[in-house]
Amino acid sequence: MEIKIYSPKDFPSYLPKLNALYDDLFSGGKGFRSRLIHPFVVSLGIPYETEKLLGQTIEFIHNASLLHDDLIDRSSLRRGKTTAWLKYTPEYAVLAGDYLLARVMVNLSSFGNIHLVQYTAEVISDLLEGEWIQDSLVKDFQITLDQLDRVHNLKTASLFKWCLRAPFIAIQRLDPKLHTTLEEMGTLLGVLFQRSDDLLDFNIRNYEGKALLGDLKSGYLNSFAVFLMKDLDSAKKELFVKVDTLEQLKSVVDEEYFSLKVEEFDGLNHQLISRYESLLTVLDSYLEGNEKNLVSQISSLHELLYWRKKG
């Protein structure tokens, strides 16, 4: 059964523009993170209402961050539509994001699982820390990949970790070793996803036709940009950060160098994929009976997240 993330019945109707804003926001999304929870729900026998709660929680948190992100970045488009802060007002965009986070806390506390509440609060905290630090890195053109990883671990990976751990927490499966493994797996998936997203900016595996060089034009070096720039001399670095189009960028670094770097970057991430695959075996050892189906269900997640292959 498809989870309905947003319903106007879940939000006050007397707040002007609120439901219109959320309708715009949720109708465009793929709900990927909530769908990531589904294999866990099936394998662990989690009831529909709990699945809905988990799905809504993660999508509310994710979309709250998008609302705020778009305002911070002054983005004009999100999922092909005018961003909320532009279409409505910046004030409504901020409040709408805050309200989603508040609803998360209301819903979770009604559910009554204190561990889930605590963990979710930590994840929201991590997400916001990551956003804050990322904002402090705008126009920093000497950032390194490991520094960016710290940001991505907080900002992106935290939500993936939540998707893997929350279903187990929801059914009170709190084995520390299990959660250690899930935490590590979620971290790897999050970093892989972020790095793949960063490649889209350079038209690598950009099957959805996302706008190019958005990060660079905003003065932010994403992970692939950092990787590309690492071996350039200072003159080329200066030109690199000022490019407007991908053609200009390739004239600065040349096509051969660019292709080589894509290959190297993929190779680097292949190591993370290897780590993820080895952790699947560890995860299997913590599962019993039908739960073990989970491993085969999530074994190709990296194909989806990094290589962008359709599931």
């Binding site: 905290s125 820390e129 630090i133 000497q142 490991d146 671990n153 250690t180 971290t187 780590r275 080895s278």
Partner: protein
């Protein structure tokens, strides 16, 4: 690629609470393999997980023995003791080559011991996984194990004691600053202790170890009378080394909120720490220079250091103002400048010692 996959395919994830954690960190789990801790993706967090890549010894990152030994011994850190040794030995007018050699070996061996203990502590507690980049330790590279480092540091401490015997026999009073220094080192190294008392104690220990205690020890080893010149030179150097320590903490030790910092400096918060650093960049060199007023012939150091400090203070203030993020490149650049400042001051201290007599 297949060979690479075979080499790199084995991983093990552990948390610091797991019973096997220490076996893997110390390298005791196997004679033919090494567990290379990967850069933690969540270092110093409440839920830190360390993933080890298990590699056969023959598949470790290749390097020349020279490079391995350099990273193991870290000779560039020996300046901490070599500079005051040169300066104070010169001021003592000691011409005993044998005493100088023994003293120098003793100081260097103690420095190496301190480095190894610090590396081991960083490795076990994960501080070296906090910063990635190119400055990985020998333990992070798997060239040597924690167990080896532990054994060698015990050996070098013993060697240090043996080396020091002639000095003690020459002048038993050398034992006093030596014993106090070892005590300070014992207080300094265990992080659990420093965490409970804050940065003030470790700064004080560094000041004493590298400053007045060292100066007094060198005086006594030369069988010279304690004199104010050595003492004030020692105080100047101790202040400087304590500040160098603060610089390292400021430029390298920020971490996620969930793991509270043990450093009082960082617990001030980013903005206040930046403001305090702005003040210290000016004040500490000033305090250092002040000591040379009390040294006979102190002009030999005062004026060269005044020029050196002024040059670097200007740029450090400039770079510090540009620091906008706790993990950005601006802090790295500042750290780099701090290092050059340290080397420049070290050179000026030695040059000052060489020209000292002429200014009396």
């Amino acid at each position: 690629m297949d060979q690479q996959k075979e080499v790199m395919s084995s991983y093990k994830s552990l948390t610091p609470k797991d019973s096997e954690y220490k076996e893997y960190m110390m390298g005791r789990f196997s004679d033919t393999e090494r567990a290379i801790p990967q850069i933690s993706l969540n270092p110093q967090c409440v839920n830190e997980i360390v993933t080890f890549e298990i590699r056969k010894i023959e598949h470790l990152e290749p390097a020349s023995w020279g490079r391995k030994v350099w990273l193991l011994l870290k000779p560039h850190t020996w300046l901490t003791v070599i500079v005051p040794f040169i300066v104070i030995s010169r001021v003592d007018l000691s011409h005993s080559i044998s005493t100088n050699i023994i003293l120098l070996l003793s100081l260097i061996s103690l420095m190496v011991y301190a480095n190894w203990q610090a590396d081991l502590a960083d490795h076990l507690e994960g501080w070296d996984r906090l910063s990635g980049g190119d400055d990985k330790s020998v333990l992070q590279k798997g060239w040597f194990t924690g167990q080896q480092l532990k054994q060698w540091s015990q050996g070098i401490l013993l060697a240090n004691v043996v080396i020091g015997i002639p000095l003690i026999m020459n002048n038993p009073w050398v034992l006093v600053p030596y014993a106090l220094g070892v005590l300070a080192l014992l207080f300094l190294l265990p992080r659990w202790w420093r965490q409970s008392v804050g940065l003030g104690v470790s700064s004080l220990c560094i000041f004493l170890l590298s400053g007045p205690l060292l100066a007094i020890g060198i005086d006594l080893a030369h069988d010279a009378q304690l004199n104010k010149n050595s003492l004030f030179l020692g105080i100047a150097w101790g202040l400087w080394m304590s500040f160098v320590r603060q610089q390292n903490v400021y430029s390298k030790q920020w971490r996620p909120f969930q793991k509270k910092s043990s450093y009082a400096f960082l617990n001030l918060g980013f903005d206040r720490a930046k403001a305090l650093m702005r003040l210290m960049i000016v004040v500490v060199p000033g305090m250092m220079l002040f000591n040379f007023i009390f040294v006979s012939g102190g002009a030999a150091w005062f004026f060269p250091l005044l020029v050196t400090h002024s040059f670097f203070i200007f740029w450090e203030l400039n770079y510090n103002e540009k620091v906008q993020s706790s993990i950005g490149s601006s802090l790295k650049n500042l750290h780099s400048l701090f290092r050059w400042h340290f080397y420049a001051v070290s050179i000026m201290m030695v040059i000052g010692a060489m020209i000292w007599k002429t200014t009396l």
